[in-house]
Symmetry: C2
Subunit: 160 residues, 2 copies
């Protein structure tokens, strides 16, 4: 039976899936310990802080976060309750609304970022040499690009 995946690739797959799970868990725990933010919270803050006007349309934000629309609605309302973001109607499309970073949100991000980045360094990056970093970048850039493309084309029934 062609069960795919030769043994070296299977080993790679297993190592990857376990370690990435653990890494995610660890980073989220670190984040929560020293910032009262969840990983999604943090990610939203980063994206908004980098956006022009520190605001993004819900849809745009959702697709960058890889969140379902309903999940984003929930996420943003939750952050809104805590004062990290606010929501404003979109001027040029009355259906839409945009999430806007508040001063408190920016502050929370500024406080959290150093700890979070340190956490990424100590758990992951410090242990990698430059060649490994380059390899990861190459591999995951390609992967991301490919997955982004395949999802779009499956949503858009233009291909058939």
């Amino acid at each position: 039976m062609t069960e795919s995946l030769d043994s070296t690739r299977e080993a790679a797959w297993r190592a990857y899936i376990e370690a990435s799970q653990r890494l995610y868990t660890q980073l989220e725990e670190d984040l929560r310990v020293d910032s009262d933010l969840s990983f999604p919270d943090y990610h939203v803050l980063v994206l908004l802080s980098e956006a022009p006007g520190q605001r993004l349309r819900m849809g745009e934000l959702a697709s960058r976060l890889i969140f379902s629309p309903s999940r984003l609605t929930y996420q943003v309302s939750s952050m809104q309750r805590r004062g990290l973001v606010s929501k404003e109607p979109c001027p040029d499309d009355r259906r839409g609304s945009e999430a806007v970073l508040t001063a408190a949100g920016l502050l929370a991000l500024r406080e959290a970022a150093p700890h979070h980045l340190a956490s990424v360094r100590t758990h992951l990056m410090d242990d990698l040499d430059d060649a490994e970093v380059a390899c990861l970048t190459r591999v995951f850039d390609r992967l991301g690009e490919r997955l982004r493309a395949s999802r779009v084309s499956s949503t858009t029934p233009a291909s058939r």
Copy 2:
């Protein structure tokens, strides 16, 4: 401000976090489409199928899955309802119980595995050359090992 993470490492981190998120989403969707199993379901089946007697103590299973105890309880009951596993009291420790793979569970795994592995291949592995596979294995093996160690030592207050 020493915000850690030089720019090449930051790029690596961003590529990694986005692509791994997308990959996970895609694999889970594929799995659900052609097997009616979630990723956790599948993982449980794999671990049980490889265990001696196709059974594992709840705690052992939880730690391999990186699940909280209560999550595992929930997960296993759900799979039990669907007939994929059963639960038996542990012979030599009356507190414990073990999850046991059922015939239906094994069958479900046998049916799902080829599709899932194909999915892993097409989305990830087929695009990697041998050097990249070797690099991933090395990196994530080390990472997993390190994280496994750090979690144990933080649980065990022996270090201080």
